[in-house]
Symmetry: C2
Subunit: 411 residues, 2 copies
Amino acid sequence: MRNMEEKLQEYARLLIEVGLQVQKGQTVVISSPVECAHFARLCAGAAYDVGCREVVMNWHDDALGREKFLRADSGVFDEVPQWRRHFYNDYANSGAAYLSIAAEDPEHLKGVDPDRLVRSQRASGEALKDFYRQQMAGGFPWCIASIPIPSWACRVFPDVPVEEAMEKLWDAIFEAVRISGDGESVLRWQEHMDRLAQRKAKLNELHFKSLHYTNSLGTDLTVQLPEKHIWEAGNDVTRSGQSYIANMPTEELFTSPLRTGVNGVVYASMPLAHDGNIIDGFHFVVREGKIVEAHARQGEEFLQAAITVDEGASYFGEVALVPYDSPISNQKILYYNTLFDENAACHIAFGEAYPCLEGGLEMDKEQLKAHGLNDSITHVDFMIGTKDLSIVGTTWDGREIPIFTDGNFAI
Amino acid sequence: MRNMEEKLQEYARLLIEVGLQVQKGQTVVISSPVECAHFARLCAGAAYDVGCREVVMNWHDDALGREKFLRADSGVFDEVPQWRRHFYNDYANSGAAYLSIAAEDPEHLKGVDPDRLVRSQRASGEALKDFYRQQMAGGFPWCIASIPIPSWACRVFPDVPVEEAMEKLWDAIFEAVRISGDGESVLRWQEHMDRLAQRKAKLNELHFKSLHYTNSLGTDLTVQLPEKHIWEAGNDVTRSGQSYIANMPTEELFTSPLRTGVNGVVYASMPLAHDGNIIDGFHFVVREGKIVEAHARQGEEFLQAAITVDEGASYFGEVALVPYDSPISNQKILYYNTLFDENAACHIAFGEAYPCLEGGLEMDKEQLKAHGLNDSITHVDFMIGTKDLSIVGTTWDGREIPIFTDGNFAI
């Protein structure tokens, strides 16, 4: 157990010092399931170690969330109480650092009325818009990371006893976030960030006008990019200059598509765990940016709900490149958790666009729209990468350049 | 385990249906340590079973609370963020039902600067005054109950392994709250409430002007009562007529003393677990209602802090009668938790007075003061009952009547 405890402490320090780079005097908000209290305490300790002002906890519990969606009065889902508005918006507006410990049974909301989920999301989107705006526009550093909980581990490793499933999921996550207990994870992350930065520079230099995706699943999708788009990877920086890593792990290079410039058909290559439900075997037909058809073998009602949260939910907000041979992909584990699965495959997202534009962090909503970026209260990544994925880029000066061949980078 | 789970469910139902008498459509706020999540879920389920509108959780964690008091920026303790004001005051003003699951290591704040505790309490007292006012004045139903956590159980039963300590504390608590797993606890509580009501009627009929406490510890205290005082026990009723039981267990009969009518010396008969610290071997010298001397063998700095939170903290707000042979006293367990210990012995409280007056719920602060009741942001019970406690009452018509002889009721 000593070694396990050391790894946990190293992980907590990594999230606070590298993921968020918490500054002396900064408030830290930690969102955590109550089941993850021990690890949340370690993260809080690491935040106090670097001199944070205060750690504020935002606890939640899947089981109670499920009870609420199943049994609360229907009116509840259209409301966001004043205290919750202040909790989210006030800390966001003051530039607090946000750590989110993501751990859930991917099907904890199975059987819930999708209408309640959508209304709840709409109400939050409206009430917490300062929070979401600041999150997207570099108003505060944030980092999402995961630890196992039994209900999730048993979904990932259904054929072994729960203790073994937990152990296997811990091992997989530690590997994915480069923790080995030797205290060298910070160094490994710096090297990793440098590698991603080199690839990012290369893509930005090529300056693509559009990407053409094809594979044997049936995907045949063209994605135009805004003229001033930039590729991002790994590190983000707040408007006030604080570096952070929004997702740990992160293997992706990503940018924003042109809102009305997406056309064709795109097939998901993995199940999507979204809002407590699993959506599987799905594809979209897309015309001039808008999803005009959505079909799923499993969970179609939740897919339909997800793309109708608002107008922008049926348009795209992100394209991301991840090689089929990425370290997480090579684990050959289906995590049913986007934080990991999106780093095992190329993916795109419907909903809100990150401001991946030159000078984007300084632009307001209207300016971002004018540059062709999508606006929504939602943002849902889904995986489209396969072993035979081909992506051909067309540059603004008319050259066709293979970006991905047989699932991996060709440049 | 089946029997244990049945007892837990019966306990949860008891708290929701008898403790709070949750109404259809009423919001329920549950305060719970994260360690007690399983039981909190059962309580939430019981609340939805009776058709509550929504269950809102107020999670907390002693370990993180301790970290904050030890390591957060000093300025934090003078502030109450807007979200917390709304969280407490808004639900209180709307008449939500409050369940508080009290479970803590009685020394979890050992070593913390008492000044931080006092400043924090002052800030909360000011910011959450709607909440406290409504709580004292029947604005909403509330119920405090407990379940074991390991750190607490090991303090109560220090000589046995933690599993055994947990089991023993569960047994003791189930006995104290009349849960045996037979589903008859509601009936037993009704009988218990009836017995308390009979004794209450008797005390009110006698209409005492003052009480004189003496015992071999050195207590020699006279407590005058307001002319319109009434004794209360067991059930409370909100202004809107909803019955509730503020503490489970409850064995006490209590009323409010005259603010300036307390004189003499009073010795604590048990240690007091207050604000995460243990105060032991203490006594007060009281003159015209005010504590003019406070001495403790252990934790004197926390005792001094507690009585200086505000002006009213050094005056008294409650006198309560509990026989030395009460069921909880006969367990011969020192719980280090006032919810239980106060039901094992006569006690008094410094700080805020409950409005135990004829028509008291309809009176405002000024009217209550005019009737001689104390006003404070704090209210701290401490135990004074012993095996040889004598209480002699003097009635308004001048008769001297023994109320307690040798620690038990004489009437």
